[in-house]
């Protein structure tokens, strides 16, 4: 079920009323309702795949209990078994074909006469998200930072909670489990914030991302014919497409969850206002970057180890991040670009005290603008690899951008993208001090004006919903 569909709207209204009206005060049944709703939500994609999810949940649920009650080597074995079995599902569905293709290529190069057949399977939706969420739970239990969850319904809900099931944020047990254990009490302010966040998320997805997608798709399918400026705008359009798409999804997820009294972690914090690549990663897909920081980077020694080991750690998390996104060399190169620029930044400016984020800074300086532009250019070049079908296409796109004449008559066709992106950036900038990134939550506004803005946004959402071939959320594929 897509968030941007009429089915989801009906589904949400039904679940909301059952939760707060029909099952009011019956906490156990409310939890069961959320779990059943999550199953229905997931089964809208490929129903039988729920079995995979169920098996993963079962293994990690029992592994969590066993890890908590065991000591020494046994404890480690349970952790390893849990991690391997969870990752095995991910490997089979997501990486097997990539692995086989590369093995076959090597075998061809070496002149060995055998090839292994690839599997004809469809990737279960959101597999990487709930796999990482499950891994985080068993690791936290192993580190004794988290008590094992004894209630199977609550643990299943932790993995399957429908607002964040298919595209995150990748939650931590410490944030989510205690909320599921607390008897829900309807909170007007939280629910109203949730509604605003859903509207803002829909706007980002349908108005910003889907309109930017038209420019980006055209540029990526006609890169041989277009001028450099058009291709640069096309790549920037993709940067805003993926931001509007993914952060829009996250906003809808966070907003939906707030309607049930559950707060999920913020996943995006104005990433295109970052003035450096390290800062970008404090703002972009926060739940994934903190996951890699906590479970890979810091256990490997983080930046404390210095020298070669530090570089190794940086490369490790960015290459893993690339692989997490998909089984394709384009994602690995995307990660490598970020790793290289990250290291260059540290070599020049060091890893001293983190600079405050733009919204925390007392005063905004012109050098920040320069840093912001350079960061955006680097990020956008990396996005070309992320978006391209293969590495050759990415290089060809970048080659065309810099080798074709920069200004051509086609640029006019791409200029309206600025009319879409610039006002959006201005809105975000004025809203930078809001705690949740939701439009106009950063400063007071008369209710009547707020309602007018909401109505205009709703009309623009309806406009884009039916007049564009709206794209599926990009991050569903991960």
């Amino acid at each position: 079920m897509l968030f941007n569909s009429l089915e989801f709207l009906i589904f949400l209204i039904v679940v909301f009323f059952l939760f707060w009206v029909a099952l009011k005060g019956r906490h156990r049944l409310q939890s069961v309702l959320l779990l059943v709703s999550s199953c229905i939500f997931y089964m809208f994609f490929i129903p039988k795949y729920i079995l995979i999810l169920f098996i993963t949940i079962l293994i990690d649920y029992f592994a969590g209990m066993k890890i908590a009650t065991s000591e020494g080597r046994k404890r480690k074995i349970y952790l390893v078994v849990s991690i391997i079995s969870t990752c095995l599902v991910l490997f089979v569905f997501k990486y097997y074909n990539f692995f086989i293709t590369n093995v076959n290529s090597v075998s061809d190069i070496m002149g060995w006469n055998y090839s292994i057949e690839a599997m004809q399977i469809i990737l279960p939706i959101g597999l990487s998200f709930h796999t990482f969420q499950s891994l985080s739970y068993v690791i936290e239990v192993y580190w004794r930072k988290q008590e094992p969850e004894k209630d199977f319904v609550i643990y299943s809900l932790y993995v399957m909670y429908f607002p964040q099931l298919v595209a995150g944020p990748i939650e931590r047990a410490g944030n989510l489990l205690h909320q599921f254990h607390t008897k829900p009490k309807f909170n007007f302010a939280l629910a109203a914030e949730g509604m605003h966040q859903i509207l803002w998320g829909m706007f980002k997805k349908l108005v910003i991302a889907d309109n930017c997608a038209v420019y980006a798709n055209y540029a990526f399918s006609h890169y041989n014919e277009l001028s450099g400026a058009s291709l640069a705008i096309g790549a920037s359009a993709f940067a805003f497409q993926i931001y509007g798409d993914f952060s829009g999804y996250s906003d809808i997820a966070l907003g939906t969850s707030k309607l049930f009294g559950v707060r999920l972690m913020r996943n995006f914090n104005l990433p295109y206002f970052a003035t450096s690549i390290p800062e970008f990663w404090r703002r972009w897909h926060i739940s994934l970057s903190t996951w890699f920081r906590d479970y890979v980077y810091i256990p490997l020694g983080g930046s404390r180890v210095g020298g070669f080991k530090f570089y190794r750690n940086v490369f490790a998390i960015f290459i893993l991040s690339g692989i997490w996104h998909g089984a394709n060399w384009t994602f690995i190169l995307w990660g490598l670009i970020h790793a290289v620029v990250y290291i260059i930044y540290y070599m020049i400016w060091g890893g001293g005290k983190k600079k405050p984020l733009a919204e925390e800074a007392e005063k905004w300086e012109i050098k920040n603008l320069f840093g912001g532009i350079i960061t955006f250019i680097v990020v956008t070049i990396a996005w070309v690899f992320f978006r391209a079908a293969d590495v050759q296409e990415a290089f060809a796109y970048l080659g065309s951008t810099f080798s074709h004449s920069f200004f051509g008559s086609d640029v006019k066709k791409f200029l309206p993208a600025a009319l879409l992106i610039l006002p959006f950036l201005v809105l975000e900038w004025f809203n930078r001090k809001s705690h949740n990134g939701v439009i106009f939550s950063g400063y007071p506004m008369k209710p009547v004006y707020r309602m007018i803005v909401e109505l205009i946004m709703a009309l623009l959402i309806v406009d884009s919903f039916y007049t564009l071939d709206h794209e599926q959320f990009i991050y569903f594929q991960f």
């Binding site: 009490k185 038209v214 309206p416 919903f465 039916y466």
Partner: protein
């Protein structure tokens, strides 16, 4: 106790505020829905899409003063690709002219709008209308350009005809009306090559190798045959069990078949009321031809549409074995130019009679 009552009052406040916003949105949306924008705007929308024949039809009708001596073909892509009106105009030396106003995608509702446009809005009186009936199944989905060609009133009226897809149609109309303001800043990636340009209304399908057509046929054969068997049972008045009845009811209402049937009958009734002669054509398709049951859909029509006087209106179907031959098809339902020529000549023979 206090907590619970606070929670309840907060829920009520939330529902009240949500309701106010919903009503405000509905009020604005209804106002936008009823805005009447220039007709040219609406008909420019399909122009650069695969539905550009809709714009062509509108432009052609704009140039026509009367259709008194014209036989008009209306229907889906099987009509658009099946009747060569240029050939008909050559064959007929009596002064009768022919015009293919078929438009791609099966949907009786959009044909009904076209007929309203011809008869009610433009007050044209065709010599004869040839209604297309898709041979293997009832249409269900509504044409994506329906909210562009139908007026707001017509869309609303469709609720009375059991249109279960009414809400998306209303939202689409609102969306296109809003788009009137925003389209100038939108990127135009529509394929200009797809614009239908011709002096007559027939669109020849591309030729496809007959072995390829056979592959398509084999892939769809089982499902299509089952479909025909079910139609045959319905026609023969087979008593279904409760499970089948429930299934058929679901298909009727949830899949919108009831609306499409109602609309087909409505078009026929409207033509009758205006004294316009019409016949129904069942275009050939590989399944019914190879099952050797070309009469099946004719029986089904007589069984389903009881309001039509079949002594006045013919149902034309093809019995020629040539229509079993994959070399005349582009796919299961669409004739290639050779097949279209064959069909056009057969239809001409019928009209001459």
């Amino acid at each position: 106790m206090n907590n619970s009552s606070t929670s309840s009052s907060e829920l009520k406040l939330f529902l009240r505020k949500s309701l106010v916003r919903m009503i405000a949105f509905l009020a604005v949306a209804i106002a936008v829905f009823f805005i009447r924008l220039p007709r040219e705007y609406y008909f420019s929308i399909p122009e650069k899409s695969s539905f550009s024949k809709i714009t062509w039809n509108e432009n052609r009708l704009n140039t026509i003063d009367n259709l008194d001596n014209t036989v008009v073909f209306v229907g889906s892509s099987i009509c658009l690709n099946g009747i060569n009106d240029s050939l008909l105009n050559t064959l007929d030396s009596t002064g009768t002219t022919y015009l293919n106003l078929g438009q791609s995608h099966t949907c009786f509702a959009i044909t009904d709008v076209l007929l309203d446009n011809i008869v009610l809005d433009r007050k044209l009186h065709p010599k004869k209308v040839m209604l297309c009936f898709k041979g293997d199944a009832m249409a269900s989905l509504i044409h994506s350009m329906y909210p562009v060609t139908a007026s707001s009133q017509k869309i609303l009226q469709s609720a009375g005809d059991y249109n279960t897809f009414l809400l998306p149609q209303i939202l689409k109309r609102i969306s296109w009306n809003v788009n009137y303001l925003t389209e100038k800043v939108k990127f135009d990636d529509r394929d200009h090559l797809k614009i239908f340009k011709s002096n007559y209304g027939f669109e020849p399908q591309r030729y496809r190798d007959s072995s390829e057509v056979e592959v398509i046929y084999q892939r769809l054969k089982v499902g299509s045959e089952a479909n025909f068997r079910s139609i045959e049972q319905t026609t023969q008045g087979v008593q279904h069990g409760i499970k089948t009845k429930l299934f058929l009811t679901k298909v009727d209402y949830m899949e919108n078949v009831k609306y499409q049937r109602t609309v087909f009958e409505r078009s026929a009734r409207m033509l009758d009321e205006h004294g316009i002669d019409y016949d129904i054509i069942l275009y050939p398709n590989m399944i019914s031809a190879r099952m050797n049951k070309p009469h099946l859909m004719a029986d089904y029509i007589k069984h389903t549409f009881k309001g039509i006087d079949y002594s006045k209106h013919d149902i034309i179907f093809m019995t020629d074995t040539a229509f079993t031959d994959a070399r005349n098809y582009a796919d299961m339902n669409h004739l290639n130019p050779t097949g279209a020529e064959l069909l056009t000549r057969k239809v001409y023979e019928h009209i001459k009679q």
